[in-house]
């Protein structure tokens, strides 16, 4: 039942000859006049924390930890986070390579900082989430460490956990190989993170909280998704591509165009079927259906002892609703969801950036 402005405003045409020839222009970097972004810089200090928009291509390894802290009062939490910021600065100083540590606080801590702040609501349960153990949902604080050297991640985390006297609730190592432009192949073999905000202006629109005590922070959703890799890959590639909505080889939309192009939601076959199928992931997740902003996705694959493997889904968005509305839609329409089972799930408020003069968490806890 589709209609639409896109069919007025876009190239969405019925393809009379059955050939796919529609190409949209990618939402490419810096097309909108944004200042250029430095590709590899990872300083801990800045208006925003590292590990979200810098480095532009996420590092190869991740250690994602959700921890709980005994600290209760706003003032004590302020002291704790300030100390954590100093620990991070020390561990990511010159000589540490591209190690980044990103700190985000869970709903309990957000509520301790004040009323009505973004991130104070917990992530709701989605389809199948009732099977996730309580110990793998929620949590006080997210410590997301990323770097090209897997060997430094645990040591840095230990120092940070020790600084906070925290207890690790759950943690997951992850890996990804950059495919450029912020993309990586997941274990299903497909490129992930194709349509994301890339320019400074897009990041302002879609990712950074614009005002209030949490300004320059963002909302982070972390979901560990066990993937039925064998089941998916046993399908013919054509079936796989129809589930994703993009080509396996280079990620180009099934509706045509280049690897970074958007899918053409309106393109149909002469017989009336969508060229990007009705239940394809790329259609299901498209923000236009929910009136949402774009998410910045920086997910990592994981493979644990035994056969458990999948994706640590990590997204950054300016409001939790962007994720919630999208995931509800995925639960209802996305064929890819048949191959994913959430085994951990939480949302956090990523603290604004910090430096020597402005402690981590200062705008919220001081």
């Amino acid at each position: 039942m589709s209609l639409d402005r896109r069919q007025v405003l876009t190239s969405a045409a019925v393809l009379a000859a059955g050939a796919v020839g529609v190409s949209a222009i990618a939402r490419g970097a810096d097309r909108d006049g944004s200042p250029p972004r430095a590709l590899g810089d990872t300083p801990a200090h800045g208006a925003h924390q590292a590990g979200i928009d810098r480095p532009v291509d996420p590092q190869t390894f991740a250690l994602v930890s959700v921890v709980d802290v005994a600290t209760q009062t706003r003032a004590e939490l302020g002291d704790m986070l300030a100390a954590l910021g100093r620990t991070i600065a020390a561990h990511t100083a010159d000589g540490s390579g591209d190690l980044t540590a990103t700190v985000a606080v869970g709903p309990r801590l957000v509520r301790a900082a004040g009323d009505g702040l973004p991130g104070s609501d917990p992530l709701p349960l989605f389809a199948g989430d009732d099977r996730i153990p309580a110990s793998r949902t929620g949590g006080d604080l997210l410590l997301a460490l990323h770097g090209s050297d897997a060997g430094v991640l645990e040591r840095a985390r230990e120092a940070m956990v020790w600084t906070m006297r925290a207890r690790v609730r759950w943690a997951q190592h992850g890996f990804r190989a950059s495919a450029g432009e912020g993309r990586a192949r997941n274990l299903l073999g497909f490129l992930d993170g194709v349509v994301v905000p890339r320019t400074e202006f897009q990041l302002q629109d879609d990712v950074w909280i614009p005002d209030g005590p949490a300004a320059n922070g963002t909302i982070c959703v972390v979901r560990r998704l066990r993937l039925d890799v064998d089941g998916f890959r046993s399908l013919p590639v054509r079936r796989q591509e129809r589930i994703i909505g993009r080509r396996l080889s280079d990620g180009a939309p099934l509706s045509g165009g280049a690897p970074l192009d958007q899918v053409d939601l309106g393109a149909k076959t002469p017989a009336g079927e969508y060229v990007v199928p009705a239940h394809a992931h790329a259609r299901a997740a498209h923000p236009s259906f929910t009136g949402s902003h774009l998410m910045l996705r920086r997910s990592y694959s994981y493979a644990n002892p035994g056969s458990e493997r999948g994706l640590v889904f990590i997204s950054f968005q300016r409001d939790l609703d962007t994720f919630v509305r999208t995931q509800r839609r995925l639960d209802e329409t996305d064929a890819l969801m048949h191959f994913a089972t959430a085994t951990a799930s939480a949302s956090f408020l990523v603290l604004p950036g910090f430096d020597d003069a402005r402690a981590l968490g200062a705008t919220l806890f001081r």
Partner: protein, 440 residues
């Protein structure tokens, strides 16, 4: 896209009629003021004629097959065929549209548009100087209604639109208009579509839409909007009232659907509905306060009326009253998701429902409350959708009745639509407009 623009030299002996004469001061282009332009006598193409007619003028298009896409950008112009069945704008399966009007007060009448990849006739305020705006750049930006004010006053009547890739007759971002006495088939989306307007003031009357994926579609178009006296049969979905996030002015609300025949929605001689819709008479997705009354809703193998949500937008306050239901898989079904449950939709008269307690004995207008629903598969399994037919292969319609007087220049369209008295409209017979239905 080639539009067959004719040069000024293509304008031959120009006929001047009407009180305003040949140099109307309201004409937008200096040097043109022609009140009536005939094709092919006075201009070699419809577009050339449209470009040279005065504001308020008439373009009369003689019998023939025209291979062009026409943009009407002059106010109060009428484009009229002299023979509805033999004045044909043919997209040949490659051109995007037949006639697009982007000016206030225009009429398209008494002609046939076929085989376009997008739409047969479009009336819209969304355009730039080149016609309907084709923006390939960024699907992720919100539509900005202030940037494109709705076009005002339009009429599409006695138009036959068949085998067009998206829509046959389409009003989008347009107010105060009428779509009447027209015919649409073979659309891979919908035969007739009214989209994105608030306080639309649109009348859709006495049309036939058949062998389309959807007969009549409304998305984010709100009342006053009256759909009456139409025959929407042999489509995959007869009629839809939809809210969506991709266009402005959600939720869709307050249409009147009165006295229509909506049925036999098990079409296998039409393109597929891309989202899987099939066997449904009236579909309401996230629609609010619509009045569906005294329609004949029959022979829909899934559901006579299907109620659901659009994302987090619930279907609320819709009234289904005095409709004649027959031979539907189920007469009324609610498949709303738990995250946006239907509330306050009422059903009167004899109707089977899913779930069975959907229509409890409560008067319309009673306090809204959450209504029970069934899973979408419960309804979908009542009838399996057959494969779609290419829109270019859908059988053409039989000859349709044209205007009797094609020479008299029309009056200026009024500022608002005169709506019929809905109280006088009864449930139509199953034979409503049957003489216009079917294939050659």
């Amino acid at each position: 896209m080639a539009r067959g623009w004719a040069t000024a030299g293509g304008i031959a002996a120009v006929v001047c009629l009407g009180a305003a004469g040949c140099s109307s001061g309201s004409a937008p282009r200096a040097g043109h003021g022609v009140q009536v332009v005939r094709v092919p006598q006075d201009a070699t193409s419809i577009q050339a004629a449209v470009d040279h007619v005065a504001a308020g003028g008439l373009v009369l298009v003689g019998p023939g097959t025209y291979h062009e896409s026409v943009v009407v950008s002059t106010a109060d112009v009428t484009v009229r065929g002299t023979d509805r069945n033999r004045t044909v704008i043919d997209g040949a399966g490659v051109r995007p549209y037949g006639v697009v009007s982007i000016a206030d007060g225009t009429r398209v009448q008494n002609l046939t548009v076929r085989d376009h990849t997008f739409y047969g006739v479009l009336v819209t305020g969304v355009h730039d100087k080149h016609g309907p705006r084709a923006n390939n750049a960024d699907d992720y930006d919100e539509f900005e209604p202030d940037e494109f004010p709705p076009v005002q006053r339009f009429a599409v009547d006695h138009v036959t639109a068949y085998d067009n890739g998206l829509y046959g007759i389409y009003a989008f971002d347009a107010q105060h208009g009428v779509i009447a006495d027209s015919y649409a088939s073979g659309s891979a989306d919908s035969g007739i579509y009214v989209g994105q307007c608030h306080s639309c003031d649109v009348l859709v009357q006495d049309n036939v839409a058949e062998r389309n994926a959807v007969g009549f579609e409304n998305a984010n178009a709100s009342g006053p909007l009256l759909i009456t006296g139409n025959r929407f049969t042999d489509n995959r979905v007869g009629l839809t009232l939809l809210s969506n996030y991709q266009e402005a002015f959600r939720p869709q609300r307050a249409n009147q659907v009165i006295g229509n025949l909506v049925g036999e929605s098990g079409s296998n001689d039409s393109p597929a509905q891309a989202d899987g819709g099939f066997g449904t008479g009236v579909g309401i997705a996230g629609g609010v306060d619509n009045e569906v009354t005294r329609n004949r809703i029959a022979g829909n193998p899934r559901a006579g009326v299907l109620i659901t949500n659009t994302e987090d937008l619930p279907a609320t306050g819709n009234t289904l009253t005095e409709n004649a239901y027959a031979a539907n898989g189920i007469d009324v079904a609610n498949i709303s998701a738990a995250r946006a449950p239907a509330t306050g939709n009422c059903v009167t008269g004899r109707a089977t429902t899913l779930p069975p307690d959907l229509a409890t004995a409560r008067p319309c207008g009673a306090a809204a409350r959450r209504q029970p629903a069934v899973a979408p598969t419960t309804v979908a399994r009542l009838a399996k959708a057959p494969p779609g037919l290419s829109f270019l292969d859908v059988a053409p319609p039989r000859a349709q009745p044209g205007l009797t007087d094609v020479d008299t220049p029309p009056e200026r369209l009024p500022a608002s639509v005169t709506m019929p008295d809905t109280a006088a409209i009864d449930v139509p017979p199953g034979s409503l407009l049957a003489e216009l239905s079917g294939t050659r």
